[in-house]
Amino acid sequence: MTTLRYVCSKPDCTIAATGKCLELHEPAECPNARAATAAPVAEQPTSPGKEAARVFPPATELGLKDALSVMQGGYAHLIAILGATDAGKTCMLNAIYLLASHAGLAPRFRFAGSLTLAGFELRTRRLRKWQNGKLPDQLADHTTHADPRNPGLLHLALSDSLGPRRIELLLTDLPGEWTTGLIKQAQRAERFEFLQRADGVVIAVDSKKLRDPGQKHSELLILEHLVDRLADGVDLDRRIPIYFVACKADSSGVDVPPELDRVVSHAMSKGFAAQAVVVASFSHNPDEVANGYGIQSLVEAIVDYQPPKRVLPVVRPEPKRSFGRSLGTT
């Protein structure tokens, strides 16, 4: 099967990945785009045949119930990854997988398995894309083999030498439109109910926009709105930490943007535990900023997080005997 696809001379245009022109032209009419000769689409996992003796759980992504059942009682860290389209969510997922598979998280973490190997492999080749048109409204409970890309979970098991212990990570793969939709419309909060089960929320932020004087104020406003929606609309459990991840650090610098600290403070004012992290999932200049910069720190922050202990109020019982009265002092 061959597919007519386009590439664009503008470096930030994602038409090759999403089919949507940055300047809202029709691809065939955009002066910057050209049709590319497409190689046959790589084979993707397809529906099982009718005569299969055994069908295994889907390996492209897991629905929420699929994931919980295959964990078979073992604890899994559910990490929700939010952020606008093209903020860097999928790159972050791919970088985590590539680092793990190449022993790039060693010596502390080593790859111990994955139920969604096919899902990671297809995403790293940009071969698992959101379908044009209407996106699903809910995180799937179950997925089938031949589904188009569904909002679902990717699974990655890591062996932690500090422990030692096995860590099961369930990482959400959600379209950016979900995040922007939540900000725009409060009623979209119901699709984020699954966040109450999360062990952490990662919010991917395009750090290039934060460094751009013409965009940073809008970007900050959007992030603060998102925090407010999580706090009020979703009523996210305040024990769930939020990690603001400034992506594309290779282009915009490895220091946490000061503007992002403001967002962290805003989240804290809402009662959340929050911190900012800087990553460069894929680096344009790997000699200065390595591929995967900051990813290990992010993983460590997630798995090492300890929620604050609840401080119980001291209850002083009423005395049954008043020694003061017997001594005549009261």
């Binding site: 470096p11 790589a42 996992p45 003796a53 190449h102 790859f111 139920l115 940009r126």
Partner: protein, 299 residues
């Protein structure tokens, strides 16, 4: 009495399974100095004798018909141990079936019907094969993600190590689904054509080769000891290149072809070389090959 311990021989196309099978059959049936001996003749002898005939004549065995797949079960026993018996199972499917399992996330009766009897498996990789697909690297991914102005990526097949880890996980999943309690699955990773590796790699261990070239598989082996028993082997069935080295081929033909080749292992904790081609199968069946070898040497 321990009987019918099955070992699956698996791996993608051109990974060295056919040649190892030929060498194993020759060692078990004819050479008879290894731990395992043939326990009678298999039902289907035609293909086995064809590939063994090819090998002892000085030619690497080819699958008789690449589009044909044949089922084979070689009955094996331990010499001087009337109780221990097992079989090496070559599933009735071509090497491409291995990739089919990954892509379709299912398998056929060919595999399902044999699960209960499987004690272990030998998974083959051949470093010098064009069919061995390397892991996706950062450079390729940067090309895909580093800029919005990307060329359409060429179709790239899934890396071999990814398919192998996926298959091992599937096998474990299926065994657990069929029996809630099961002995730990023994998974032997066999690096075939060991003699074709560069000298510095060849002088190391198979595990070191995996760490360098197949890091995902290596880490999976290192971190899953509670779930599987793993061992790694380097195998050279002839000791050299029968195809490209005419001098070596002549020397091989003039010598004893049944005595050729070697197996590299670290079952003792150190790199060792053995002439016993049945050793990987014996290990996968659940034997302690080194203890057996000491026992036989002492008797």
């Amino acid at each position: 009495m321990e009987s019918d311990r099955g070992v699956l021989l698996v791996g993608g196309p051109d990974m060295g399974k056919t040649n190892y099978l030929a060498r194993l059959w020759g060692a078990a049936y004819k050479f008879k100095t290894g731990i395992l001996r043939a326990d009678g003749l298999p039902d289907d002898l035609e293909h086995l004798d064809a590939i063994l005939g090819s090998l002892i004549s000085g030619n690497f065995a080819e699958r008789p018909n690449p589009n044909e797949h044949w089922h084979c079960e070689i009955p094996l026993k331990v010499e001087n141990d009337g109780g221990f018996r097992g079989k090496l199972i070559v599933p009735d499917c071509p090497g491409e079936e291995w990739q089919h399992i990954y892509k379709k996330n299912e398998w056929s009766d060919t595999w399902e019907d044999r699960i209960d009897g499987v004690h272990g498996c030998l998974c083959f990789v051949r470093p010098s094969s064009d069919e061995l697909r390397a892991p996706l690297d950062w450079m390729t991914c940067w090309r895909l993600f580093g800029t919005g102005n990307v060329d359409i990526p060429t179709t790239e097949e899934t890396p071999t190590q990814v398919e192998m880890v996926h298959w091992i996980q599937c096998l474990q999943y299926a065994k657990r689904a069929r029996k809630s309690r099961t002995a730990k699955l023994r998974v032997g990773v066999v690096v075939s054509a060991w003699d074709a590796l560069p000298g510095n790699v060849r002088n190391g261990s198979p595990l070191q080769y995996l760490e360098s070239d197949l890091p995902l598989l290596h880490q999976f082996i290192a971190t899953n000891a509670p779930i599987y028993d793993f061992a790694t082997f380097g195998v050279s069935i002839a000791g050299g290149d029968l195809k490209a080295d005419e001098d070596f081929r002549r020397e091989y033909q003039e010598g004893d072809p049944f005595a050729a080749g070697y197996v590299i292992h670290d079952l003792s904790g150190q790199r060792e070389e053995s002439l016993d081609h049945t050793l990987p199968v014996a290990w996968a069946m659940g034997l302690d090959p080194l203890a057996r070898a000491r026992q036989e040497a002492g008797s």
